[in-house]
């Protein structure tokens, strides 16, 4: 595939790329002898450094694609390229908000299953208003919504339920009842996009509580068990339904 070696990155934005494809960056990015450094120059070249996102790795003169998917580009702030891929398995990333299930209490630390390759650890002091005397009431089997402070390939992931200012801002133990289920990571990203149509249409159907974890887990709670299960089924089917089919299904349900 001689033609695939070194195709221009801009030409492939929005198209499917496969692992092994080499993307060449525009000429005004690498003028140095090493070819690796990016120069900040006034004029047409964007300010800032080029960001190489998920699915891409720097290699020599360009970016090597490592996952299959659609190539995306964001021109703001120096530009960023990444690959939008569909995946089921979650890999912990620092800053992600996820839903974890408590599997063990080991002294001062809880072990949570977040769907990755290792259980994450959560200290009992990482809750809002928690002190050594005032411990949070967490049991094995509880659901916790928190974010990662440490998540890389070399260390065990660590979670907290407070943000940098010490407030919980929506994180913590998820209440009783409700239903937890798993979907693909791509659907979660779609649901978390601003002004998501699916959530707006569902909220017109019944009132419900929803927690979305970046690890593919969704927790739903509505007034009755039947309403909860209906919402669960619609969210699971959203992966395969087109917008038209979804509107038809919702119209049928609201008619009932």
């Amino acid at each position: 595939m001689a033609a695939e070696r070194g195709a221009a990155a801009e030409a492939l934005v929005g198209q499917v790329v496969l692992p092994g494809d080499l993307l060449l960056l525009p000429a005004h990015y690498d003028e140095d002898a090493e070819g690796e450094r990016l120069r900040l120059s006034a004029g047409t070249a964007p300010q800032g450094q080029l960001l190489c996102g998920p699915g891409l790795r720097r290699s020599g003169a360009g970016l090597l694609v490592t996952k299959c998917g659609l190539l995306r580009h964001r021109p703001a702030g120096g530009g960023a390229y990444w690959v939008d891929s569909q995946q089921k398995r979650y890999v912990p990333v620092k800053g992600d908000h996820v839903i974890g299930i408590v599997t063990a209490k080991a002294g001062d630390v809880f072990r949570l299953d977040v769907g990755g390759s290792e259980p994450a650890s959560l200290s009992y002091l990482a809750f809002e208003g928690a002190t050594k005397r005032n411990r949070p009431n967490v049991q094995v089997g509880d659901l916790i919504y928190g974010q990662f402070v440490v998540a890389n390939k070399d260390m065990e992931p660590e979670m907290v339920c407070i943000d940098s200012s010490g407030k919980s801002s929506g994180m913590g133990i998820i209440g009783q009842d409700g239903f937890l289920f798993k979907v693909s990571l791509g659907l979660i990203r779609k649901l978390l996009a601003p002004k998501c149509e699916i959530i707006q249409e569902l909220s017109q159907l019944y009132p419900f509580e929803l927690v979305l974890g970046m690890n593919g887990r969704i927790w739903v709670k509505a007034k009755t068990v039947q309403q909860t299960l209906i919402i669960v089924n619609i969210l699971e089917a959203c992966e395969y339904m087109t917008a038209q089919q979804r509107k038809q299904a919702l119209a049928k349900l609201s008619g009932n």
């Binding site: 695939e4 692992p19 092994g20 490592t66 996952k67 891929s85 995946q87 398995r89 992966e239």
Partner: protein, 224 residues
């Protein structure tokens, strides 16, 4: 279920490949799955990973990859074990295991029907399953089987009957980056020149297979 089917045929002079067909993401439990058909040979592959590894099996600097090949009938024997080793070597050469140390990646292959070129069908199914699971790869790979007939003619993608009549059967695993050879296995007797000729024919056929991969993935992403 999101299932894609795509077909490709190649007429490369004398070297023809059989009809291909591929379905991605057909199993709900594994992280990645693919079913690959070459003519009448079909293999189903399921991939789990990167998952938690047993302490005895985990490697400190990269992911531990293991392959299980299940025959259509009977228990796995020595032939399956040797094929598992070949598949493991090929997969380890392309998977970027350093990004996931101390994890385990398991690939399970089930032979659904065997009508010749089984090992190359397993290689193709394994590559599609790796693509479907979203594991980081440095390149793609494909498998091509060549049969050397007693008169010296080269047949690509032989059927079971052609394999029986052949003097030698060679299977190549070829990477998408500059068509490098990742793995070769031979059964029978052939000279060095014949092997070079088979390799050249396999590399030509590999282009067709990689184009087929691209079309399958394109079809899958066009739906969402």
């Amino acid at each position: 279920m999101a299932a894609e089917v795509a077909e490709a045929e190649a007429a490369d002079g004398r070297c023809r490949l059989r009809r291909f067909s591929c379905e991605l993401g057909l199993l709900s439990r594994p992280d990645g799955s693919a079913a690959f058909l070459q003519g009448d040979t079909s293999v189903l592959a399921g991939l789990y990973g990167p998952a938690e590894a047993k302490i005895s099996k985990e490697l400190p600097d990269r992911a531990a990859l293991d392959v299980l090949l299940r025959p259509k009938v009977g228990l796995p024997g020595v032939l399956e074990r040797s094929r598992e080793q070949l598949l493991q070597q090929t997969c380890e050469a392309v998977v970027l295991g350093v990004l996931h140390p101390r994890t385990a990646i398991s690939l399970v292959l089930q032979v659904l029907s065997d009508a010749g070129s089984l090992l190359s069908c397993c290689l193709n199914a394994a590559c599609m399953a790796l693509l479907d699971a979203g594991l980081p790869l440095s390149a793609l790979f494909c498998g091509v089987t060549c049969a050397l007939q007693p008169d010296g003619a080269i047949l690509l993608d032989p059927t079971a009957r052609q394999e029986q009549e052949a003097r030698a059967i060679l299977t190549f695993a070829i990477a998408s980056s500059e068509k490098k050879v990742l793995m070769v296995t031979t059964k029978g007797v052939c000279s060095v020149q014949e092997m070079q000729q088979c390799l050249a024919a396999a590399q030509r056929a590999a282009s067709t297979i990689f184009q087929f991969y691209r079309d399958s993935v394109r079809r899958r992403y066009s739906k969402s």
